[in-house]
């Protein structure tokens, strides 16, 4: 902890000095065509820090404010003109600056287009205010998906999210059907510790009661992935991880119809087709895609088929009002090879001992969004969304004939005629929920200072069910319960989970001075979590009712601050409360030996970031911060001697803290200055994280490290482009991480338990792309070093056990655009 505080002090000291330039008076920027001298309308004027200053009017003019005196790098961008990046000295007497843009003489190469975007958006972050959301003082990250050279068809999160700091990613080798990312010591499984959204609305099974993501949008359809860390709790989900928002591509504005079709083949039987249509006609715009994917997986007994479709329709009534409707469909069936013990993994990571385990998901999302500007200064949005989904899992997991069933030692037995002996375990979850979120954002003045005020409300109603029982003894993907045939099956339960949640939240940006702003926020929640149902007591042979309701109100507070002396440097900090709502599986029991404490409550805590971000000179962009996360009241189960029973309650507190940083260096300007055909950058993304259990009801846990916290999490990469050829090399390294609270070390002789550390691993990926007219080809090698590794010890599906990650693999994508 002391390290943490002293670090904070050092960091603050070394970054706060030497930025004392005053912002100037308004300046008129005039943009003209260099050849004709005509005014250029609609040119965007940026500072190279990424700050947008304004867009030129019919006269090619725009009045910009907030530019500091001294040297400034301006970036002027307009379609049909070469991007202009230039340095200007702004003095006290400067009132007007003029820029001349050079029109394109030819079609731009990929590198040139990319350079343009790169120069504008290098290390893009969310602006303090976007639409009806406030991000001031928060740690935000934006992944520009179309700039990624990597295996998009396989949703390779390691490549897609390489520049997101400190992410711990499960490399599942399942074609990216399920995204599992975590960070800062939070379990990556199904991204449950993030509030996961698509275009701003929830996509997980149940935001509070079952926050797991079974659906992941196709990377090929994404424009951005936005990430807001813990401080997102006030405006979005309350999760410790923060927000992940997948932003789909927007309809193209200059065409009525644009078709993009991509076909990918890859190692391990991967085939994917992605076809999208996009366009705008008058006030109506649309974007739709269909994505089919299949693969055989690296291991035996693995296979998947997936269908995913999405459509967005927008109608712009007028400048002030827009309505859009979106619908998403996803359906997949996967055969799962199960998990391995350490001994089995070392013996042969490809082996599988489960031949009849299947997993199916059906996901349907709907969203209707209304955006309206009441005035120049007041924006409103209303989003009504719904989910109708299910997931089904059938498989042989353990042999219940044994006193201590164990997935690693239990063989899926067949009788002498080759018929399977055991009925399979079947789990079916149905998710039906709807919600509405309204936000109103208004700019107003306090005295001379501009302020921004946001208020919002959310209503969320879920009606989910889960059933567990005996499935068939066969090997096919039959998701039918055979409870009549096998009434004695021990793991039977049937629950309903009605859940109601309503929240009101508000934030306000107070500009204390031109450089310093403070953004306090508050969120008030009412949650009613109900679990209604029964489970089978197999020793007594009877069903036992188990009904529970947990009703509570929660007040969350947070504050963010930003000190931005100029456009190239910002010091930001925030602290906010978070909680992880009690989930359904926390409050229901499935065995007579368990009881749930009447005092069980949500897991609560705080997250805090203090960091600096900006740009040094022309070439280095950075975002570096320290964070602390205090986690109170982790839920667990322990033994009580008085009742001779297991009690589930809040059992422990933990702290997680670290340093996260991302540096992006533009090599082009160093080695190929002025060569418009070249693009080159190198990035270094590192997180050093430490953690400790401060207290625990469990023996031998206090003082231990938190699970899923590698000390070093490093991703670094080199990008290079010449004309239409682009390539990238990316190296990932994670040090050893524990997977259980007792910090069981890695043990190559462990043949019986799922616990154990995940050894350090490193992965090298190489990717290339080449564009020729309307055609683009992408190819690459993943895991070039052909390392045998794993990132996950699954406690349930798709294991239990070690889930082997893919060895060296290849992919090839062919895209054409019409």
């Amino acid at each position: 902890m002391k390290q943490f505080i002293s670090l904070f002090i050092i960091l603050c000291c070394c970054f706060t000095r030497s930025h004392a330039f005053a912002p100037t008076h308004p300046i008129k920027v005039v943009v003209k065509d260099k050849e004709t001298g005509a005014a250029v309308k609609g040119a965007q004027v940026f500072l190279s820090s990424g700050k947008e200053l304004g867009v030129t009017n019919n006269k090619g003019e725009v009045i910009v404010e907030g530019v500091t005196e001294g040297k400034n790098y301006f970036v002027i961008f307009s379609f049909e003109y070469t991007i202009l990046e230039t340095q200007c000295d702004i003095g006290a007497s400067t009132t007007e600056i003029a820029f001349d843009l050079v029109p394109y003489g030819e079609v731009l190469s990929e590198v040139e287009i990319d350079n343009q975007k790169k120069e504008i958006f290098n290390l893009k972050r969310l602006r303090p205010v976007e639409g009806t959301a406030i991000y001031a003082g928060k740690k935000t990250e934006v992944v520009l998906v179309d700039q990624i050279v990597g295996n998009l068809a396989a949703n390779n999160a390691r490549q897609v999210m390489a520049q997101v700091v400190g992410l711990n990613i499960f490399d599942a080798g399942d074609g990216g059907l399920q995204l599992s990312v975590g960070g800062r010591g939070l379990d990556p499984n199904r991204t449950a510790n993030f509030n996961t959204r698509q275009n701003g609305y929830d996509i997980s099974a149940d935001v509070l009661g079952y926050p797991e993501s079974y659906y992941t949008p196709a990377s090929e359809a994404l424009s951005e992935i936005q990430i807001v860390r813990g401080a997102a709790s006030l405006q979005y989900g309350t999760q410790f991880g923060g927000l992940i928002n997948f932003k789909m591509k927007k309809p193209v504005t200059h065409k009525e119809i644009e078709l993009v079709s991509r076909n990918t083949v890859g190692s391990f039987g991967l085939y994917s087709n992605f076809t999208s249509l996009s366009g705008t006609t008058g006030k109506f715009s649309y974007y739709a895609y269909y994505n089919f994917k299949r693969g055989d997986g690296y291991r035996a007994n693995a296979h998947f088929d997936s269908h995913n479709a999405f459509a967005h329709f927008g109608y712009q009534f007028n400048k002030k009002t827009k309505i859009s409707f979106e619908t998403t469909y996803m359906q997949y069936l996967a055969k799962q090879s199960g998990g391995l013990s350490d001994v089995q993994f070392l013996e042969n990571p490809k082996q599988s001992h489960r031949t009849r385990n299947w997993f199916a998901v059906n996901w349907n999302l709907y969203s209707l969004k209304l955006e309206h500007a009441f005035s120049e200064r007041t924006d409103f949005s209303l989003n009504v969304f719904g989910l109708n989904a299910n997931r089904k899992a059938i498989g042989f997991i353990v042999n219940n004939n044994f006193t201590e069933p164990n997935p690693f030692k239990d063989v899926d037995e067949q009788d002498m005629d080759g018929n399977f002996i055991h009925e399979r375990d079947l789990l079916v979850g149905e998710f039906k929920n709807w919600g509405a979120e309204a936000r109103l954002l208004s700019h107003y003045d306090i005295g001379e200072r501009a302020s921004v005020f946001l208020i919002g409300t959310k209503v969320y109603n879920a009606n989910n069910t889960s059933m567990q029982g005996p499935g068939s003894k066969d090997a096919d993907a039959d998701f039918t319960f055979y409870s009549d045939r096998y009434p004695e099956y021990p793991n039977q339960s049937s629950f309903k989970y009605p859940n109601f949640n309503t929240a009101v939240f508000g934030e306000n940006i107070f500009n204390i001075s031109d450089r310093f702003s403070v953004t306090p926020g508050v969120r008030f929640e009412y949650i009613k979590t109900t679990s209604d149902g029964q489970y089978f007591n197999s020793t007594e042979g009877v069903f036992v009712d188990d009904n529970k309701t947990l009703e509570r109100t929660i007040l969350l507070l947070g504050i963010g601050a930003s000190y931005k002396p100029d456009n190239y440097f910002e010091l930001y900090g925030n602290v906010s409360q978070n909680y992880r709502s009690v989930t359904f599986s926390d409050i229901r029991v499935n065995s007579p030996t368990y009881t749930v404490s009447p005092d069980i409550h949500d897991e609560k805590g705080y997250t805090s970031d203090i960091g600096v971000r900006g740009k040094f000179g022309k070439n280095l962009s950075y975002d570096a911060s320290i964070f602390g996360l205090l986690y109170q009241g982790k839920i667990g189960t322990f033994y009580q001697d008085r009742q001779d029973a297991l009690l589930r309650d809040n059992v422990g507190d933990a702290i997680i803290y670290g340093v996260e940083s991302l540096f992006d260096f533009n090599l082009k300007n160093v080695f190929w200055e002025g060569n418009k055909h070249v693009r080159s950058n190198v990035f270094l993304n590192t997180a050093f994280t430490n953690s400790e259990y401060l207290s625990s009801e469990f023996n031998g846990v206090e003082g231990k490290k938190v699970e899923f916290v590698p000390l070093v999490n490093l991703k670094t990469g080199l990008g290079f482009g010449y004309k239409n050829l682009m390539m990238s090399a990316q190296y990932t390294y994670l040090s050893e991480q524990f997977t259980d609270v007792t910090n069981a070390p890695y043990d190559p002789n462990n043949a019986t338990t799922v616990e154990g550390a995940i050894p350090a691993y490193d992965i090298l990926d190489l990717s290339f792309s080449y564009v020729y007219k309307k055609i683009k080809v992408e190819t690459g090698v993943t895991n070039v070093l052909n390392n045998t590794y794993f990132t996950r010890r699954a406690t349930g599906y798709p294991g239990p056990g070690i889930i082997t990650s893919d060895p060296r693999g290849y992919y090839f994508t062919f895209e054409f655009k019409l």
Binding site: V659, L711, E755
Partner: protein
């Protein structure tokens, strides 16, 4: 300049973290867990398996003699050998770790009550695979109990089953198969201990859920709870029943009947001996949970915790001694006496499961998973 400061900070952070990295400091205290594991392996576990395999070999020989010449004399010899091996098994039952755990040795050796319908059906068809879990309750010591003591009401009837019954050959085969399987499992696990597993077991001397000490301590608690307390007494007397419906047919060795007490006492004694680190072949005590607790000077109620634990073992043993040797009849006459014994055993478990494992920083390893 700023880069260098930043780098410096990172380096400091990295260095400061590295010193308390997990692997170097893998236990919670200064006690030498390796010495304890060595004592357990060399002086208790391996000698127990050796003794067990020896007794099973003698028993197997007796079975061969009996099968060749089914008469009353040979029947008595094979019964005696079976009782001796069954009693030694009560020791071995605790060590469900390594290959024993992987092979589900305890379940295949001593699942009772025996399913006599299944045994008879296996015998009559002659078509069975004893390695399948569906045959758990048709093999092991309980199946032998039935085959040697339960296939007829008198010794003459029993001998007739093997001598003159039309299906005698199948009975002989089944008895031999079941006995052979007991011996081969014992042999397999003994040779694993004598081969690579001893060193693997001893070198896994950290403190975590997968460490040898944590695992075997949990196994020891599991055995005294689920095997000794629940299976031998709790289930037959229907401890939780409201009102209880006594099930004497579920006692251990229900066909021989008069050895249930012997087996219970052997089971409690084995647990206490492991706790105290007492060598199998002598009264010497080595490093153990007891010496571990004593070194940490753990006390309870003004006494050493190890003394409290031993008192509770002794109290349970004294109470068990008062029971009728024949549980089948005994519990029908006086259920209360059995209930008191069960409670005394529970008193041991209570202090092992709370005070002891908490003092030693051992996490109880019950399953806290909901299947997903």
């Amino acid at each position: 300049m700023r880069y260098s400061i930043y780098l410096f900070v990172l380096t400091c952070f990295f260095a400061s973290c590295k010193s308390d990295s997990a692997v170097e400091d893998c236990t919670n205290d200064a006690f030498d867990r390796g010495a304890l594991l060595t004592n357990w392996a060399d002086n208790i576990i391996i000698p127990s398996y050796e003794l067990y395999v020896d007794e099973l070999s003698s028993y197997k020989t007796a079975v061969a003699t009996f099968v060749a010449t089914p008469d009353i004399q040979n029947l008595e010899v094979v019964r005696t050998a079976w009782i001796t091996a069954y009693t030694v098994w009560q020791n071995v039952s605790i060590y469900e770790i390594g290959q024993a755990e992987l092979k589900n040795m305890r379940d295949y050796t001593n699942t009772f009550p025996v399913n006599t319908v299944l045994v008879e059906s296996n015998i009559s068809t002659g078509n069975y695979d004893l390695s399948l879990s569906t045959n758990l309750d048709a093999q092991g010591f309980p199946a032998v109990d039935y085959l040697l003591n339960g296939v007829g009401t008198t010794d003459a009837e029993i001998i007739a089953v093997y001598a003159t019954n039309g299906n005698a050959a199948n009975y002989k085969t089944y008895l031999s198969d079941v006995s052979e399987r007991l011996l081969s499992m014992g042999n397999e696990i003994l040779s694993d201990w004598k081969g690579s597993y001893r060193d693997i077991f001893i070198s896994n001397d950290c403190a975590s859920s997968t460490a040898s000490l944590d695992k075997l301590t949990n196994d020891m608690i599991f055995n005294i709870e689920k095997v000794t307390r629940v299976a031998k007494i709790g289930i037959p007397i229907d401890f939780f029943g409201q009102p209880p419906v006594i099930a004497p047919e579920k006692v251990e060795a229900v066909y021989k009947q008069d050895i249930s007490k012997t087996l219970l006492i052997a089971s409690i004694q084995a647990s206490q001996d492991l706790f105290n680190g007492k060598h199998v072949n002598s009264d010497t005590e080595g490093e153990s949970l007891k010496s571990y607790l004593d070194e940490l000077q753990i006390e309870a109620g003004g006494k050493l915790l190890s003394a409290v634990i031993n008192e509770r073992y002794d109290a349970a043993m004294t109470q068990a001694e008062t029971l009728d040797a024949n549980f089948y009849l005994g519990m029908q006459n006086d259920r209360e006496k059995y209930k008191v014994t069960r409670d005394k055993i529970h008193k041991i478990i209570e202090v092992l499961k709370t005070n002891m494992i908490s003092a030693l920083g051992i996490k109880a390893d019950y399953n806290d998973s909901d299947g997903d």
